[in-house]
Amino acid sequence: MKVSKLTLSFIFGLLFAGLASTSFAQSSEYKLDGKTFGMPEAEVFTEDYDGPPVVGEYVTMLPNLAPLDYEGNKHHEVRIDIMVQEIEVAEGVRYNAWTFGGTVPGPVLHVREGDRITFTMKNRSDEEVTITEPSKGGAPFMQQVAANNISKNKAAVMPMPHSMDFHAGTVAKDDKWRTIAPGQTVKFDFIANYPGSYIYHCGTPSVLMHTAMGQHGVVVVSPKDGYPTDDEVAKEYVVVQSEYYLEKGPGELYQYDFDAAANRNPSHVVFNGHQTVMHDNPLTANEGERIRIHFSNNGPSGTSSFHVIGGIFDRVWKEGHPFNEMRGMQTVLVGSSGSATLDMIVPEEGKYILIDHEFVDAEKGATGTLKAGPRKK
């Protein structure tokens, strides 16, 4: 990584953004109802960057969530680059995924309500990027992928325009979520004004195709005053449901099936990106523990009737907002790009199945295992 050049382009980026702004609607920061709005204009530039594609202390691989070990608010510097990776989504099913950070779904970002995020993203779809080797300065995500290469990633190259749309952000989409060409980098700020779990995805048309090709992930925004049961929670996990629309291509690899996507007929509906990953690596807990699942349905097009076989959700915060509390729910209906924060008391030692109770989806893969050990004395 050539730091000097990088810094230069940043400085001049700022300079030129200023010069070019004659006809651009300028926003300046303001507060309303305790929330902060009015982010500076996004920057688009080219940089000589070949460092770790995912950077940020609180950026992890599913189902992990980085603990927030700081008080109050923090200014996060986060990078999630775009790469093409040949990945496995089920046994024998591999395709050239368009990814944020190299995995499907992309990395989990954890912040606190009110935190500012300075986000940088380079469209590296035109270069081979290896994400399975630990790299210095990378996010915990990088180490976790290197240690647990579930999808058996191989770098591939397919230059396409891409963009980033964080549902956790409240900004003008034509500025911050703008499409960048291969080789370009976009950088912008947003404030996590609302608590909850929010998807992010590529907003470049065809949005259906880009999202189905793998470009989605989750930002978990913890409420500034927490949830009422925080002190009792033993384990926290993030579970993302999503669909693939794949068919066998002429070679070994699978490819995007336009008809299936257009007709909402997924080939695979999965938790955390792979048909069997949550059985091969079950979530773990112990009898009598309260566990929390941040559940997000990243779609692109399906709904989820999320249920845990053998359990009842003790508390449910729809979209993860502490005001949206419900209790004693067997199944939580989550639409595309919706989420829920779920507390469940693990009743007994044994095995529980996470499932989309729309059984057609379950039979296409939307299931996972929660393995409970004995009650801790």
Partner: protein
């Protein structure tokens, strides 16, 4: 309008930011060399309304206002040309003779030097420092690409085109882009004045 300017910034960023990232190399240019991001690299011959041949690099050492238009355009282009005049005219009177204007036509078929001369006279702009010019279609398109101007000939012979006034600095790099019609020109004029006074000081 906002979208237009957004695209402008998008295009501009891809030009200028990239430009600056080789800034170190630019700083060490030897005499006679031109910056990697100078439009002077377009080694194309333009012919103006006086039938004089010129290249972009003919303007070396002088700021030049560049606009793209076509002669048969009766609705928008007169405003665009007037905008160009407003910018030129906003430059301090003493400095103004050092500012050049290059107006290049998309309509390579119809806008011959003779037609351009008539156009310049009609607009009362057949004056020193103003060049209404034409060139080979490939050169006109290349210039448009470098400036970030889009145009296409429609089947009725009219051109759909973006409205842009650009300022090239004394080395031929894009210093300013004014996107859209009837924009304020003071800031760009001030920028040109600064370039010129810097030149005098050197």
């Amino acid at each position: 309008m906002k979208r237009l300017s957004l695209i402008a910034i998008f295009v501009l960023s891809s030009f200028t930011l990239h430009a600056q990232h080789n800034h170190g190399a630019d700083a060490t240019l030897k005499a006679g060399e031109i910056s990697g991001h100078s439009l002077y690299h377009l080694d194309a011959d333009f012919t103006d309304q006086r039938n004089k041949s010129l290249k972009l690099s003919s303007f070396k050492g002088q700021p030049v206002i560049v606009v793209m238009f076509y002669g048969n355009c009766t609705q928008v282009c007169p405003i665009l040309i007037r905008d160009t005049w407003r910018l030129y005219n906003a430059v301090d009177e003493i400095l103004r003779p050092s500012v050049k204007v290059l107006a290049v036509s998309f309509d390579t078929e119809n806008d011959t030097p003779e037609v351009l001369k008539a156009y310049a006279e009609y607009e009362q702009l057949n004056i020193d420092g103003w060049h209404f010019a034409t060139s080979e279609p490939t050169n006109v398109r290349s210039l448009a690409m470098m400036l970030g101007v889009q145009y296409a000939k429609k089947s009725d012979g009219e051109f759909a085109h973006s409205n842009l006034v650009s300022v090239l600095d004394t080395e031929g790099k894009i210093a300013k882009r004014i996107e859209g019609l009837n924009q304020p020109m003071e800031e760009a004029a001030h920028h040109i004045e600064q370039m010129l006074t810097k030149n005098v000081e050197q």
